[in-house]
Symmetry: D2
Subunit: 421 residues, 4 copies
């Protein structure tokens, strides 16, 4: 058992181990990679610091990395997402140092960030870019040790590309988020299902017949819109990008400005990667009983600070459901304190999508080793061949066989001299 | 506070009261009826025994009946569906005798059934027909006191119609289930959402891309099929009725025999009202990892008895998720011990649909009083005008206005002499 | 070749025969009945007058009736729905007297109605009730000859029930429309697809992203709403029935008054069975470019008379597409002169659904013979066993096998003494 | 009136003009560009040869280019897609030389290709790359005159990228297809709707309940799958790309090898851009009555040559519907001779999507002029700002307003130092 840890209660380890094993059963791609890593030990001698949501799926990634020969240490990328039982099991059953307590305060959160960096990692993994940010601001002396860093989420990638553009990026980065087998699946099917799950667990309201307003129409918000529609809601989309807005309209959704949507919406879900998408002016116009959730990475999509300031009264109704009495007498309901609703009120992405995302993470770590010294301080995407590989393994796990090109078809596709007969 | 009760812990009352209030906010039709009942006291002097799922929505029905002047007493219609906090609050905050403990054993269950009948009710309410059954078998002397009994669910109505056909029915019954504003909504939108919710809470598996086999294509199973499709599953339907099977096929679902479906299904949900729909022969053919749930009223749709007998090993993985190691080495996963998955693993129907179902229940109680002495020992449906009324109030709560027929249109619809010009 | 006929051009018979054969290939239930009729001749000696849409599907019904031994004569139930090539082939290839010309004027239409009644039928078949209406008004002396009359459509059934209520009905009627295998399929899947087909053929506009307003949420309009949604439209429903309106809202559609919908709708489709659902006041408020179609049986759902009166100018843009310049300068586009758009602008219901509807028609004719003298002058529905039979044959044609109840299950379903264990 | 033309019948011009005007009413983005071109004349002095489907939508593009000052000449990019009335109107009403006759044979097709190049164009527009191919093979001396060439379709772009890779490309090319406002809309919503339309017009079969097999899961095939599902079909997808196959599975479709799908499919639609996707081995295994259509650009996705060879008998049943009697006694039905079904059996993409595609074409022509001398012989995509512009104009035409970023939000999105609080 690892001696270094900060978890809620090691006594929860048994429950955590069952969770980890249940996830493992759904993560068949990662499982195949783990078996190969066990034999090949491609990460031997390395220390990897992973600042990810501490869930049973992440546990299986960490176990895979360890199987590959690495020393692995982890903390939580979000104060609300930690599964304390998994954290306990990582320490007790898998001997992986873990620093994560559900609901930890901001000070503890930053202490944990620093603790995992004290392990002197050569590879870091982020979900939102907090490790990389800390390395570039207060721990710049460690930057030289870093082979590479991988980033899980859209929000983090936006941040890293801004750094790259400013020439502020000092390590090679792989945007795992930008692999097709990650963002086409995790962001859409994973966020879609788990966000709806979070809303239902927190409120138990009926989605059928509700006006559900979704801010954004990127991959995550597309997934949420698709699922809300699938549950019988009347979906309204808000956007700032003309092409995405048009896509939403053509997909049959109402598209309008947020300031109009707030007047008719029953449930609001923001997933834009942007700030104050639901501001206090919008909240003042909402109907009595309106429900507000955030499914974007950071807790700033809803302007919670202003809401706390203007409210007359606040009380907690259920887990992850707070009632705010507004000065106009209406009651608004905020889920999970405005943090990622699928983690705060549900269990995050299902293991099946994390399987692919984390297969990419594991392959990214291996890629840093294989390409040591060859990578610039840029934001990279994993080669398409690895995407095809991950998808192939997943299809196999689903017992699906597909066609392959015939030699004749391959020639046809690469030629340009066969036309209308 | 009621002195007569059997609940888990009165200390849970505060949590229960918040739940009841939260449901009340979504139950605007019942709320309007409650306000009228308060003034009119149509149930004055009556005792009503309600054997329903003891949830926050039911609490609001009971509170409404009490507001109408009745003495109300309740027990649970299903051992697994009780919300202990709600039971506590009913006793402590609303002075309603309640006999229900989540997970109570069969003996306690039957004791509670008898206890509520000891209150000498004039009206009984069932969800599955257990009170009415007890009255007709072991407590026949009380039958003469009964003004009428209302039944909430399809399964119970099937049972009552069998009794009516056999001339065994000795009291007037209202099949609340057969009101349009009940079965078209509760069974479809309510069961649909809450069953999916139960499956996700118990397993956290991704529904997208899964083969979900749904037994039955009645209102409940239609709702489940619709929602599973809405979550991205590939839905397979099994049926014994040719018309319903054809409807499922035309709705784009695969339709096949269960014995074929078991070979390819990832998740099985039975909602037929029938027995042993998923038998042990079927379970032996399932894939490793198959997940099995019941959404029918009684816990006999899945042949749990045989499964317990043939299994090599059993362990609990998560709440409501049991792993059965089969003699063939495969692992099957049963949710909520084969009981109603939306109650065992989730919170039952959302308040918005129970609002309409329970509005019908409240109106049924009033109907028994108003029609005292006029009803035969038959299974009745509430008049269509009450259905229209419930729907009208619900639309109002949703802020939706609709058209009304013009005098000219009314004449046209009742005439038969205007044709192709 | 029949000597009595009034069709456009017998030279079209070859094209018509190919159409009839193509439909026959999709009408496998009717085909099985035809084979049985050939052997059993249940309709021997009878004359049947069929006032139906003269399409290739109807042709196969008529051929089936003739195979059963009947003398068959037909005219069109709608001036715009006749397929002239089919009419020609009926006369030339199948020796069935036919009186129907696409676009025939009102006078010819009524002449044809009278002509088929001149054949002294014992059974009549209606689609909208025109034969039965004529028999009850101007040809009452023939009523005594009638064994029974069957009615195909909702509109006709509404009319007949009004007659029954007024004690004005003088013959037994079978509401074929009310068979499950008719209205659950033909009205929903048939009208749904063919209405969308009619709108697209007439306009070639993109449905994705359009606001499509559907008047009514009965079986037909439900089908249209489902398909419009399936094509990417944002669907708005208008209703006068509270339960149906609520159902539409819970299905995720916007529900509002027509007078509100006209301001935002791009395409309007009425399918209510009622009159002036889209009146001139509504049309005056529509956007420039609005498209208006009727999918109800009679051409009075849109107030065409008033539109013709107030318009500044009218011109035909394409087949079935007329442009009306309104006094306010806006242009409105009406499809198929406000008549049934799926017949005027497309080919009516696909053969697969007519297969079941017409199987019911054929069985209704047989039912009149089998129950000669036993039927009252009421509106009957065919026995459920015939519904199951039709559905069973259809499933067989689709190569679908379903489960059957085990003896144990049969006992369970008919018993009422097995409950929660 | 142009003196140089080869069209079917100038007498059809009136019908064609109505069609062109009707399309113009749906093409509001192109209309705005046309108004600007009229004033600015950006294409003055240029000759543009457009080898596109000669439809009413294309007519509006050509009219726009002419309004911009260009001399415009056109021929058909597909022998079956020409609308003869539109061709006539182009010549007679708009003085645009046109060389296109529906059903022209291969020799005439190539003659027309050469004719338009005889006009010595500086800009060419292709839909499938036939002009560019001819320029690079038999008319290389004209290459030096070419400012640039734009390409409309995926198939053409694949061809051009193969040429670019082989260093065989001798002119700058803009892949209009690769603009977001083209392929995300035209390929998906346009091909989706019009392919379904083509299948229905050619067959009038019911799509609900049918097994529809779609080859490919690119943008076009995604659109077809989405719409087939929307019509109630049970959709099966075949693919050769693992990521796309996985996406199809996660979207709830069955995914399998074509050789398996042929055994259960009722309708087959190929849209892959590849050759012999449905080969003769596959056709031999199909069910009696199977319907086969191609929605890919070239008529080689179905191996028609082999089918013609092995068939026992062939006859035409309806427009665009040929019956093939196979040696095994089964009948297969091929739509539109295996050519693009949405053009052969329907009217091609609706004007609303062509509006955006052709807005991009018009802007591409302007881009060649503005960037004269600056472009290499490569395949370019139009700048994203033009995409946003086209989408913005389209949303305006749809009366939709969207949000804009606040200054605070802009800063946030470009910064990287704000994280979890």
């Amino acid at each position: 058992m690892s001696k270094n840890y900060d978890v809620k209660d090691l006594g929860l380890a048994r429950e955590g181990k069952l969770k980890i094993e249940w996830s493992d059963k759904q993560m068949q791609v990662l499982s195949i990679i783990k078996d190969r890593f066990k034999k090949e030990k491609p990460l031997k001698g390395l220390t990897i610091a992973a600042c990810l949501h501490v869930t049973s799926e992440t546990a299986n990634l960490l176990i895979t990395l360890k199987a590959g020969g690495a020393t692995v240490v982890t903390n939580a990328s979000n104060p609300l997402s930690t599964q304390d039982s998994v954290a306990a099991s990582l320490v007790k059953d898998y001997d992986i140092p873990c620093f994560a307590i559900k609901g930890e305060d901001s000070k503890t959160y930053y202490k944990h960030l620093n603790t995992v960096l004290d392990y002197k990692p050569q590879i870091t993994m982020d979900d939102g870019g907090d490790l990389i940010h800390l390395l570039h601001t207060k721990r710049q002396n460690q930057l030289k040790d870093i082979l590479g860093s991988s980033e899980e989420t859209t929000t983090g990638v936006i941040r890293l590309k801004a750094m790259e553009k400013d020439k502020a990026l000092k390590v090679p980065v792989i945007a795992v988020n930008d692999s097709d087998t990650k963002h086409l699946f995790d962001n859409r099917y994973g966020t879609g299902q788990s966000t709806i799950d979070g809303v239902i667990r927190a409120t138990n309201v009926l989605l059928a017949g509700k006006n559900v307003v979704i801010a954004g129409y990127g991959w995550c918000s597309k997934g949420i819109a698709m699922r809300a529609k699938g549950m019988g809601s009347n979906v309204i989309v808000t956007e700032v990008d003309y092409v995405k807005a048009l896509e939403a309209a053509m997909d049959g959704f109402r598209v309008m400005k947020m300031i109009e949507a707030v007047k008719i919406g029953d449930i609001f879900i923001s997933a834009t990667g942007d700030k104050h998408v639901i501001g206090i002016a919008e909240m003042r116009l909402m109907k009595d009983g309106a429900i507000i959730a955030n499914s974007g990475h950071f807790d700033i999509e809803i302007d919670m600070a202003s809401l706390e300031k203007v409210k007359n009264k606040k009380r907690t109704i259920r887990n992850s459901l707070d009632e705010y009495l507004m000065p106009n007498g209406k009651k608004l309901y905020v889920l999970g304190e405005g943090r990622l609703v699928n983690l705060a009120a549900a269990e995050g992405h299902p293991a099946e999508v994390m399987d692919m995302s984390f297969a990419n993470q594991a392959l990214a770590a291996e890629y840093f080793v294989k390409n040591k010294g060859k990578l610039e301080n840029k934001v990279y995407v994993l080669p398409k061949a690895l995407d095809q590989k991950v998808a192939r393994l997943k299809l196999k796990a689903m017992d699906i066989s597909i066609d392959t090109l015939t030699p004749e078809q391959k020639i046809y596709l690469s030629s340009w001299d066969e036309g209308t007969k």
